[in-house]
Amino acid sequence: MNRLRLWLLAVGGAGLAALLVAACLDLPGFGGDRHPYGDRAVHASLLRHTANTVASVNFDQRAYDTLGEMSILFAAVLGCVVLLRQARDEHRAPPEPAGVARPVRRYALLVLPVALVTGLYVIAHGQLSPGGGFQGGVVAATALHLLYLGADYGALERVRPLGVYETTDALATGAYLVLGLAPVLAGTAFLANTLLPYGTFNTLSSGGTVPLLNAAIGMEVASAAVVLLAHFLDQAVEIEEEHGS
């Protein structure tokens, strides 16, 4: 190990540690009662009939942050598609079907539908109970990949037409943006949740545009995670280098 690097690490680490520990001692004690922004957010969420305050912050009060976050996911997927493309000196070799123990296979096929439905349920109830587009989307996408365990890579590729997922990813991103732009056309602010009725508290259609944005995020996250996993699987299983390169 490089001597200089260890010295730098020791000096820098010690300095930063001292600074951060001193800052921690000045922080308000853990579990304190002063959360002005949080209290205002709870109030605003109830005004707009959204039972899950976190969903209200994510998709209504700070929906612009979520737009940025969704764009990060969108850009990262696009980046992975570009970075993990088949290079000039590589070719595809269909993998041999791997032997999977029968109990594993049965278990995977059993869990798959359950996980898929759980994912969709979690997406749908985002504004009412804990969960929402992100969590449900990731669960649903990961569930789909149980097929790799349960059946084999070929089966997974058949139910997973990548192009469709990539298009869905882009369309969901577009849908979120269009939902944000509609209020601008109506003469108010970007992403304003003022066009739709807020509905009855604690029902699926409550919260104005919150359920719609939540659904867009769910679709985006699910298809983005599928595309990401697919490209990594492709690299791990299918793409090979030309020998002698």
Partner: protein, 583 residues
Amino acid sequence: MRHLLPLLVALPLLGAALLVATGRRLPRVAVEITGFTVCGGTAALALVLLLNSAPPLTEWVGAWPPAGRESVGILVVGDGPALGMATLASLLTLAALAYSWRYFDAPPHGHTGAYTALMLVFQGAMCGFALAGDLFNAFVFFELMSVVAYALTGYRIDEAKAVQGALTFGIVNSLGAYALLMGIALLYARTGELAMARIGHGLDAAGPGGPDALVLASFVLVLTGLLVKAAAVPFHFWLPDAHAVAPTPVCMLLSGVMVELGAYGVWRVYGTVFAGPGGIPAADLTRALVTLGALTAVTGAVMCWYQRHIKRLLAYSTVAHTGLFLVGLGVLTPEADDGVALYLLGHAGVKAALFACAGALLDRFGSVDEHSLHGRGRPLRATGVMCAVGALGLAGLPPFGTALGKAVAEEAVGGPLTVVYVAASAITAGAVLRVTARVFLGLGPRPRDAEYETSGSHEEPETTGLLSRVPDTMTTVPAVLLAAALAMGVVPGFGALVARSVGPAGSGGAHWTAHGVLLGVASTALAVALAGLAVTRPDWTAAPGWAAPLRRLQSGHVGDYVAWLLVGTTVLGALALPGVLGS
């Protein structure tokens, strides 16, 4: 009007989504026209908003206007500097898209729209960061900007250096972003707010006795994130590794505006969050920024001089100039701010043009190595002339916009710091002139190879195969950029316009002075002399022994860079400590 502010982010993103959704069916020309239209439309919108930005536009996204003084929404600020940066980013993206028109390497199969879409997302992210009035929102767009930049830097996956540079870039910048987020969390704990102005009020209300360790730590963490992006010493190591290997149009954006957005972020965050009595005293900020900025300028200039990889040389010149911007921002006077704003605009034009010239060399000869290209650039007369003109602009020869900005900033910082300005701009410009003389004129003997350096020969061109002639777009774009940089200094009233946009308090505008012109001519003369000496007497200017340790620090090892990042936070804390102890 104010409702249109978030559209600067939304429009490019929508364009990108559209391109990805339809990208596999569209022919390449349609993709490029769409990208061009969306990017240009956004740039036009930014310009219109900029011209209407007095008094500053502010918008609460999501229609959450503050009840009393407090809101739950996100604030977007459209004042002169914010919209100016957004306009600059949009126009440079337009130039980069024009530069890559048709000739840039074939897009990945089945993803015709991917490259253009990434560029559009990059544009939206830079606009979003420039306009952010909310600290967490700034972090989100900071990350978006970074993520797109990593992907674009590694775009040429067949190139070994490109993927390594992109990973270094990714790890160091992500770590910086997490430090920034830790700082935001500390500020939220103290004030319970996220809008920058509200955090500033909260700090003043909480600490009438002055700042404590918590304020200092949050200041250090937030600045670490922003200075990593601005590539200040010792956070700068990632920049040459990334900028030297990214595709040329991307380099134009990275060096021309993304790094400068880091410096802009420092200016914005200090002015809105930490400038009050509960924040960090002005003397401490000046000490921190001027020290780091001067170090950055000197390191960047010295390292720039010893490069033979042309894009890497230009990358170090960006490091040097960002150091100068940080020095200017650090002295905290309105005059210096005006000067830096002008300097930054001029530098963006000149640096993007120089990268464009280097890209033409790469695509024509498959090399960006000063030694192996010796004399081979003679046929590319237009590119050679633009290289020389760009070098003069970099040196600050009047009447370039860079010269006006540099002169105003020099006058504002005064004293020995003027020497740093003159030296850094002269050395970096001298290096570019030296390259021009050797590559395009074939002057002097072919220099000897050193032991510890990055060579630029045997690189893959960015086009499909080597070009037999440089296409018109690749000469028009740098010509337009240089003309713009020149116009900034020549068009009467431009300096005053920039000064008015930067601050309503204003310094009365940026004007040419005899003193400034003299200094500009002096640094140009110094640059020419250095270049002449280097070409005719290569042994005199070869790397002396004392520069070797400095070069060894740039080891290409990501672990070293992370260790330096930690040292940087400690140094930053130490530089700002006196104000906290004194209160």
